[in-house]
Symmetry: C2
Subunit: 431 residues, 2 copies
C-alpha cells in the first residue's frame, strides 16, 4: 500500500492565486485548522509520509480494487480497455474516508476533542463519523434537514458510529434562515464549533489538503495498472468540488511533470445542472452561500446560483476547488458536463454488467468514461467514487422514465456570475 | 483465486440419511434441477473445477478480504487473534452470490431461459438477480410482500439488475392463503415456474450443492491465513440453513480429515429465536411450510413452528441443512444460540472498531466469535456473511434500547416437534 501522499503543487509551474480575506476576522475554513493541514495546503513539498496511525486505518479498506471492466466495455461499445478504480467499498461508501481519517488524526493530535461539520447528502458526515470512531474523537454533524428525512439511513449510520446528528435548522444556533441548504448546515456547524472548548469545524473537500490525501487513489491506480501491464491515455472522474477527481487524476499529472511518464488526458465530468468548469467563469467567489469565508479563485457559476434538487447531491456545488480550477485555466484539465439521465443510465449499465451499483455522482464519471472510450486510442481509467446502495430511489425513477436532465439556465448563470471579479482582471500577473 | 470447490462429502465417513419423497410426484427442489447440481449433491468426488465462466464472475469480487480485527479484539477483550472473512462486499451484499452465479450458469447450460425464486428479506433474490444479469437469464422473484414494503431498496436493487419482482401474495398464482410468509412466496415461485416453457425454480441455501459452491469462502480463508502465517483453532459462522457456515467451516473439516492439518472447532451460531441446533430434534421434516417437498433429515424446531419477526430475517428458518445437521449429530459441529440484542451489539462494536457495518445475521457470528475468543488458545476465524447497510433500522432500535431478545418458547417447541419422526428411530443403521 502507498506509504506517502504526492502533492501536485511543486509540479504546477505557477502559484495558485491567493485567497482574498473578507472583512470578518476568521472564515469557516481557517477555524482551528491544524498546522499540518495548513502546511499541506501551501508547501511545495512533493511527498508527504502518511502518518502510521492513518496507514493502519487505510489498511482496513485499502488498497481498493482496480479492474478492467470488460462487461461494461461491451455494454457501451468501448473501443479501448476501460479500467475502474472503486472507492465505494468502505463503511462511508465513498472516497471521503481517505481525507476524513487524515483530518481526524491531525485534529486529535492538535488537542481537539470534538469535530463539527455540515453535510448535505451525508457522505461526508458518514466519513467523518467513521474517522472519529477510529480515533476516539467526538463528532457532531449538522445535516440538511430535508436530506436527513429523505435518507434516514445516512443518519442511522452516523449514529451507529457514535456521532451526534442534528437536522438543520437545529434550533441550537442563531441561524434559522436559509431553509434546507448545505450553506445553513455549514453555518450552524461553524457557529456551534466556535461555542465550545476543544471543538473544531472541519470540511470535506475542495481544499488542497483534502486533494492531497485523496492522492492515494491515483498513486494506487498507477501501481495497479503497472502490475497489470496496462496503459491508459485518459483518466476520468466526477467533480463536485474536485477531491475524487483530483485524487485519481493529479498523481498522473505529477508523474508526467516529473518526467516519469507521458502526459494523459485528465477529464473532469460535472453535472449539467452545475456546469462550473464548462460554462462558469474563473473568478473570485465565496466557497459557501453565507459569504463568511475567504474568497477563492475558482471556476464558478456563482455562489448565489440557485441549484435545483437532483439525484447527485454530491455534485451540487457551485464552484470547483481552486487547485483544479487553476489547472483547468492553464489547460491541464479537460471538462465535460453530463445530464443526470445519461449519468444514471451509465450507472445502470455498470451495475448490470460489472455487478457494482455506483452512486449517481459516479454515474457521471462512467458516462464520461463511455464517451472517452470512443475517443481514446490506448485506454481509459475511471474512478467510481462511491456506491449507490442508499440512492436506489434514483434508479427506480430512471427505470420508471421519470428522470429529466437539468441544464443550467443561461440567463440565471449570467445573473449569478455578473458581480464576480474575474481572476484575469484582478491578478493578471498570476496567470 | 481458488479454481475448484471442495466437497466434504467424501470425508464424512458416513452417508447422509436419504430424503423421504412424499406422495406428490415432484417437490420444489427437484423441479428441473440441472444434472450437475444433482451430481454435486450426491457424489463422493472431492474437488470440482469451477466452470471458467463462473470464475470470470467470481473475479469481480473475489478473493474477498480477510484481516485480523485488532480493534474488534480490543472492543471485546479477546485473548487471541480474531480474523474476519468478509463476504458482504459484492452487489448482493452477502455470500449468496457465490452459489447464485454457479446455479445461474448450470441452469443456463441446461437450456433454461428464466429462473424463478422466492425470497424473504431479499438477499437471495438480489443475488439471483445479479447472477441472471451476468449470464443473460430472465429472473422472476416472488418476495414476501411485507418485507418488500418494509425494505423497498431490496426490490429496487433487483429491478435495477433487470429482475421482475412480485410482492407475494401476487395474485398471479392459485396461492393466496398464508399471509406474509416465505413459504407462500416459495409456493408461488414453484407454481409459476411450472406454468411456463423454459422456466425453472431455484433455491438459495441448505442444499449440498449450495454448500459446495460456498466452499470458496473457506478455501480462500485457509490460503489467506497461511499467507499471514496465522493459525486458528476455532471457525465461526452464523446459521440460517447453513450455507455461509458450511462455506467457511467445512473446508477446514475436509483438510483435517484428509490429514493435511489438525482439527479445529467448528462453531455454528444460531438465533435464540430459531434454536434448531441447540434445542431442536434430529428428525425428518419438511424444508418448507407447504409440505410439498421431500422430507429431509435435519435438526429442526418443526416446520410448523411459528417464528417471530426479528431483525435477522436470514436466520428465520426452522431447520438446518441436512449436511450440517448430520455433522452436528456426529459431533463434528458445535453450536450456540445468541439473542438478537447481543448479536446487534456485537455488530455495533464491529462497525465502530473495524469500520464495516455487518448484517444483523452476521452480528450473531460476531457475538459467537467474541465468546469463542475467550475460550480459544490460538485464534478465531469468523465469517461476516453480509453488510447491514439496508438493515440500519435494526441498529437504530438497538441504540434506542428497543431491541429485546426472542427465546423460543419451550411448550411451542415441544408442540411443533411432537409429530416428527426422529432419525434415530427410523434409520438406526445410518448413525
Amino acid at each position: 500500500m502507498t506509504a506517502a501522499w504526492r502533492s501536485v503543487l511543486p509540479h504546477l509551474g505557477y502559484d495558485l492565486p491567493p485567497d482574498l480575506t473578507p472583512s470578518q476576522a476568521a472564515g469557516p475554513v481557517s477555524t482551528g485548522l491544524p498546522l499540518e493541514l495548513v502546511r499541506q495546503s501551501v508547501s511545495l513539498r512533493e511527498w508527504w509520509d502518511i502518518p502510521e496511525e492513518v496507514v493502519a486505518q487505510y489498511r482496513k479498506y485499502r488498497p481498493t480494487p482496480l479492474w478492467r471492466a470488460t462487461a461494461f466495455e461491451r455494454e457501451v461499445d468501448a473501443r479501448v480497455p476501460v479500467y475502474v478504480k472503486y472507492e465505494g467499498g468502505n463503511i462511508s461508501g465513498s472516497h471521503k474516508l481517505n481525507t476524513a481519517l487524515a483530518q481526524a488524526f491531525y485534529y486529535k493530535r492538535a488537542g481537539i476533542t470534538e469535530v463539527v461539520t455540515g453535510t448535505g447528502a451525508g457522505q461526508w458526515g458518514t466519513a467523518l463519523a467513521a474517522a472519529c470512531a477510529a480515533f476516539g474523537l467526538r463528532c457532531t454533524v449538522f445535516m440538511v434537514g430535508g436530506s436527513l428525512r429523505d435518507k434516514p439511513y445516512r443518519g442511522s449510520l452516523m449514529r451507529l458510529l457514535g456521532a451526534t446528528v442534528h437536522a438543520s435548522p437545529s434550533g441550537l444556533t442563531s441561524l434559522t434562515e436559509g431553509g434546507n441548504s448545505l450553506a445553513l448546515a455549514i453555518g450552524e456547524a461553524v457557529e456551534y464549533a466556535r461555542g465550545g472548548e476543544g471543538r473544531a469545524f472541519c470540511i470535506g473537500s475542495g481544499e488542497n489538503y483534502s486533494i492531497l490525501h485523496q492522492s492515494v487513489i491515483g498513486l494506487e491506480a498507477i501501481e495497479q495498472l503497472d502490475a497489470l501491464g496496462a496503459e491508459v491515455d485518459t483518466v476520468v472522474g466526477s467533480v463536485g468540488a474536485g477531491s475524487n477527481f483530483g485524487g485519481i487524476a493529479l498523481p498522473f499529472h505529477a508523474r508526467h511533470r516529473a518526467g516519469e511518464a507521458e502526459a494523459v488526458r485528465l477529464l473532469a465530468v460535472e453535472s449539467s445542472a452545475t456546469p462550473k468548469l464548462t460554462r462558469g467563469v474563473y473568478a473570485y467567489d465565496h466557497t459557501d452561500a453565507t459569504g463568511s469565508g475567504p474568497m477563492e479563485a475558482m471556476y464558478s457559476i456563482g455562489s448565489s446560483f440557485s441549484i435545483p434538487a437532483s439525484h447527485s447531491a454530491g455534485l451540487r456545488f457551485h464552484g470547483a476547488a481552486k487547485l483544479l480550477s487553476a489547472m483547468r485555466h492553464h489547460g491541464s484539465v479537460d471538462a465535460v458536463a453530463v445530464g443526470q439521465r445519461e449519468a444514471l443510465d451509465a450507472g445502470r449499465r455498470f451495475a448490470v454488467s460489472e455487478l457494482v451499483v455506483p452512486a449517481p455522482e459516479s454515474g457521471h464519471a462512467l458516462a464520461g468514461a463511455a464517451r472517452a472510450a470512443r475517443e481514446s486510442t490506448r485506454g481509459v481509467l475511471v474512478c467510481v467514487s462511491g456506491h449507490g446502495l442508499l440512492d436506489l430511489s434514483a434508479y427506480d425513477q430512471l427505470l420508471a422514465g421519470q428522470v429529466r436532465d437539468l441544464a443550467a439556465d443561461e440567463a440565471a448563470l449570467a445573473a449569478a456570475t455578473a458581480g464576480l471579479r474575474l481572476v484575469e482582471a484582478d491578478l493578471t500577473g498570476v496567470k
